[in-house]
Symmetry: C2
Amino acid sequence: MHDLVIRNVRPMGGEATSVSIRDGRIAGYGSTPDNAAQALDGAGAILIPGLVEAHTHMDKTLLGMGWYHNEVGPALIDKIENERKQRRILGIDPARQSARQAVLAASLGVTHIRTHVDVDTEVGTTGIEGVLETRERYRDIVDIELVAFPQSGMLIRPGTVELMEKALQLGAQVVGGLDPAAIDRDPKNHLDVVFGLADRYGVPIDIHLHEPAELGAFSMELIIERTRALGLQGRVTISHAFCLGMADHDYVAALIDALANARIHILTTAPASRPAPAVKRLVEAGIVVAAGSDGVRDTWGPYNNPDMLERAVLVGLRNNLRRDDEVALALDTCTYGGARMMGLNDYGLEPGCKADIVLLDGETLAEAIVSRRPRKMVVKGGKVICRDGATSITAP
Amino acid sequence: MHDLVIRNVRPMGGEATSVSIRDGRIAGYGSTPDNAAQALDGAGAILIPGLVEAHTHMDKTLLGMGWYHNEVGPALIDKIENERKQRRILGIDPARQSARQAVLAASLGVTHIRTHVDVDTEVGTTGIEGVLETRERYRDIVDIELVAFPQSGMLIRPGTVELMEKALQLGAQVVGGLDPAAIDRDPKNHLDVVFGLADRYGVPIDIHLHEPAELGAFSMELIIERTRALGLQGRVTISHAFCLGMADHDYVAALIDALANARIHILTTAPASRPAPAVKRLVEAGIVVAAGSDGVRDTWGPYNNPDMLERAVLVGLRNNLRRDDEVALALDTCTYGGARMMGLNDYGLEPGCKADIVLLDGETLAEAIVSRRPRKMVVKGGKVICRDGATSITAP
């Protein structure tokens, strides 16, 4: 007895078939069993695995809070300090805000999220606690992984390391880091603390590295050294990694080799205004490349939204991926790339994988991606949670 | 007697008022006249002038033709040659295709379009003739300006200059040019021909300049010299102008000064994968900056669509325009910037301007831009042509 059968779907835009789901997993394809509890018509839609949002900040989106009139200064530190101030003024509640983003993202076919949650001496771990609440409340529609993230710096703000530790004890699953030189002013010790926490708590690492060019490359070398020394190959992600967008081809080639060798993953938001990692070059070197929206409608900027098909388009535009096989690669950063980065088990469309799947209306896979229509169907853990862009699940 | 009054609209997101329209023009704001032939409720929507698509290729969009599986090579010349081939294989009809884009663009609030139409020794002027047909047929919903565009090169393909001249005689309103060095291999003579045609036919100029860095800068200098020599200040546009994205600040500063002095306009598509003109820097130097979608779903690439609010977002992302005033600047490239580039008379929201206006649902101007909802209302020449994203006007 199958729980759900969806007839007439096209896996990755290929030949039409039926997909059967049992006990929350993909049971198989092909002949339609006639003993399914629920049978739906896919109407020729394209079947893809759930979208993976591999880098966002759910604790501080302003979704549903009224438009924030942005007058912030240009520097990174301006944005960080303004945000801490606005958090008080606007009353940005991490549980409520992360819930809003969770429901919106799920309705767009996002089945897995890695979210970086601020930990600092002003909010302490209240952000972590709020997002943990959301993680539990919405566990049936989206899997949320929390990174304890020292957004305001760690060593420059005494007391932060202890809070990071508390965050990990509370349930954060990843230890974060941030610009060890440019923000924390002490790359060696910043990274020693981050890797030390990872080692002690047995958690993976995700470090935001905005540092440009040669400075970023130096921090990257320190990360690579520690990854190898502690045997953390496959457990470390570098987010942003703008330094890989340097013009010096040979310098970047050496970094890419070293990253591939240490099995370090790269997360990109595909920023149009900054040097950025070249997705295709990294993938060809065997590096896992994932994509994320970064902050969604927050005090940092107005443009981002949680639609990972839109992110795939932005990855494609940033990396000049025009051919159909290249557009599919752009999507891959928003599906399999994110899943591999997060170490998701049983992710994908193979029989036995968890039934976290999305149906897209569209002529071909590339057409469906660039058109970004409302999702025809979203299935999470074998349950239909969204149809034609609409979900009955609500957020506060 | 007014023809149309729309109550409760917010010009550029400001205070709510009524806008009155008479004889296809904006008559005024404020007190609602009670003798209007048609009175509509704007429901607090944001009023902006019509969107201006200042650079596209309507003759060769593949809209409505079935998905084109793109396997094209990476070089510019690969794309040019593939397109000439596909035009025959796919049967891309310029009249039909430009009509499809015209109707779609109008439904998105685009009231003015500058389109570059291929002129070459294979198609001759059939593209021009097809788009002229569309220009006439859809003149009540969108103003279309044609550029005679030697996409495949001009001097390297003998006979093209004569066809360019024929295109201008048929009704093309602008003379185009293309990479005088990189494609046509003869910058001096290419530009002498282009400027010669402009001088003889009294038409403005729009040159596609993809040439990178110092090479592009040299061609740009030649364009500036000719603009000044022929007294064509204010009549010349350089599209793309990737060379302005060079890293050398002083070199670019000298070019910007010379462009401003010659009153040459810059058109950007805000490409994420190429060096590109810095919009804010150019605007601050007094240069008119317009924006365009470039080719929409054609053999060149799959991503572009004719939504100029999406283009404003891409301009914002490319130029790191995050503050609300900066988001408004991004929109400006898709409204007033394009209008000034095209020399549109009576464009804008002032009384006396043509009633080419768009209503956007949204909380603030920035919010409406980044949300890119279906347009609440589009008014062209004083007539409502689209409501809530839907229009009764059809394309073949």
